[in-house]
Symmetry: C2
Subunit: 374 residues, 2 copies
């Protein structure tokens, strides 16, 4: 099997990541819920994960809110901090757009969209122009549809000049490119554990900038192990956002996955380049919004279509040959609208476990479909 759907989930997880989880299961009780050995071990594993993520992503351990997914982290951040006029981009994933839409429906936010196409300068300019009167900006760091990385630091700088809080969806960028809360200046960055970091499913995080001190409403309340006598969630981080039993074995494995990412590096750019160059020059194939502004401005995700071929059929053809890609809308209809791919497309997403040889096989199979088009 050849797996090029790493933007959906990194595959395969490594043996050491799974071993870390299994080992933790043998020793973990419920973290923070008692003072016996398994409960303490579980709490230590959670803290180790906070420290590892904090070091990797440039924030403080207590500012690492561990969540069951990036989607839940984004919902917590958006509903906790966004209000009034909210600025967001034309290329958001439904994990950002749908929570914002639900806030708009309930009269809790007005939405203003900026065009996130074009050069970095154009993006920053349009973003800046949209900030007037805004309270919060929520936007994707790197598109899950065509891989485009938005100029995060410049955008955050402009937002802060206007007193606008920034919430970033880094689901697709974390683990693929260097990303730092402190260096970017972003107030909140939400990440997935199971994509570019190759951690287990069921892991994500909301990373809060140590300099950010706004108070958030919560969307999930429950037991916290501390301050049990209070009717409200504790005010301190991370407990303010962490209700219920935390999945200590999964976060033990996520810590291991981050260590592995540090050791292995962020992947071989040549695979992405080879795929792009081959598809771009292939007859009957159109790459949509490929890395036209330079490879350093993209995570390794390519969207394309084959003339006269339905994208789902092409995906199914490839799947039958053991090649995994994803067709359709990738939970991001806004991005497809922006790219002009209203009927969807075929997405190839490279991970650091892919090889150049796998890329060759994929290219050959796509070529086989493309050349059959009359």
């Amino acid at each position: 099997m050849i797996y090029f759907d790493n933007a959906a989930t990194g595959f395969p997880k490594s043996g050491r990541v799974l071993a870390a989880m299994t080992k933790a299961y043998g020793l973990c009780g419920n973290p923070g819920r008692s003072g016996h050995a398994p409960a303490i071990y579980a709490a230590e594993k959670l803290y180790e994960c906070r420290e590892t993520l904090a070091a990797f992503f440039g924030t403080a351990p207590e500012r690492v809110i561990l969540t069951p997914s990036a989607t839940i982290a984004l919902n917590m951040a958006i509903k906790g901090f966004a209000q009034n006029k909210v600025v967001t981009s034309s290329v958001e994933h439904n994990a950002v757009f749908r929570p914002l839409y639900s806030m708009w429906q309930r009269g809790r936010a007005d939405l203003s969209f900026f065009d996130a196409g074009g050069t970095d300068e154009q993006i920053v300019q349009r973003f800046t122009a949209s900030l007037e009167g805004a309270y919060t900006a929520v936007f994707i760091h790197a598109s899950n549809v065509n891989g485009r990385i938005l100029p995060l630091r410049e955008m955050v700088t402009e937002a802060h000049k206007s007193g606008v809080t920034t919430i970033i969806d880094a689901s697709q960028s974390a683990g693929h490119i260097n990303l730092s809360v402190k260096d970017s200046g972003a107030d909140i960055i939400c990440i997935a554990g199971h994509k570019g970091l190759y951690g287990p499913l069921g892991t994500g995080a909301m990373l809060i900038n140590p300099s950010f001190d706004m108070f958030a409403e919560t969307i999930i309340e429950g037991g916290t192990g501390i301050r049990s006598l209070d009717s409200e969630m504790p005010e301190e981080y991370p407990e303010h956002f962490e209700a219920g039993t935390m999945n200590a074995p999964a976060f033990a494995a996520l810590a291991e996955a981050v260590r592995e990412t540090e050791e292995e590096g962020l992947g071989d750019d040549r695979i992405f380049a080879k795929l792009y160059e081959s598809l771009k020059s292939m007859k009957n194939v159109t790459v949509h919004g490929g890395p036209e502004y330079g490879y350093d401005k993209y995570v390794p995700v390519l969207l394309f279509n084959i003339r006269k071929r339905n994208c789902d059929e092409a995906m199914t053809y490839l799947a039958a040959r053991g090649i995994c890609v994803r067709s359709g809308f990738h939970c991001a209809p806004l991005a497809h609208k922006a790219l002009g791919t209203e009927n969807g497309g075929i997405r190839v997403s490279v991970g650091r476990k892919n090889t150049l040889k796998e890329a060759d096989v994929l290219i050959d199979e796509i070529h086989r479909i493309a050349k059959s088009v009359s």
Copy 2:
């Protein structure tokens, strides 16, 4: 090590449950996100878990909403369905009380508490008396502090006579006693996967009665794999509530855990009886709200204190001898208030993997502390 903290999390998880998870990790992509083999396998594993839970808990597979925890399931249910006057009990866990309190704070619900102490008849009577003008009732099935099982079916019957929707927190009862959505008539039952069912952490479910047809607001929105072009979450279950990547390997393991529970049965009642009889008759030991109304009205949880001994110190003493119990408030201050244990207590919670011999060791050690009290 002797583990009597199964109400916090069932320990240890069995080899076959962990093997099911590890196996799934080797084959699972992102469920519902493409048509290639790993994505299809992951979707099949999710569906298998829905079917297994549906059969075990008496509902339909599409009415099994898989969640990362009972806490998240309860927040979804409470904030989705509860409004106006909400009736709840005097013994709730913070996973119910805090979400209700946050709704009250935001002006979205009025709370009315009924006394859940005494006989079944007394509980039903007081519950029924509190229903007037209510819209929703939310209450615990079995207390995580003293194990008392509330008379679910009778309470649901009374609630429905008054047109009141019922949301049940079965975190502590699922896997310990027979529980059926259909037989109880409850509208929504929320369960934890990692406690009495001995499934992995990071698993829970909201079980919806097939006859319940109210529409819920969501608290988490995001990608669903289906109906990606819509701005709102799909109306159909389970997708309405399931946003973001579902943790297919964990739910594959939960299905295995449920099968194991079916095979192994619900545990050896003699352990609970032996612990209760021994502690009840022990000098300087007070059992709070023990199974005085009959063992069949309790899940195997005991709360006690030792005269002149701080409960945390007693827990630490036991932990140093390799015995795991939990002291303090158990995230349920209301229940402690109702039991008159305002300074907390020591909780022993039995699981189906405990043995009579382990109970003997625990009894000896508690006796050692108790007899040292002058």
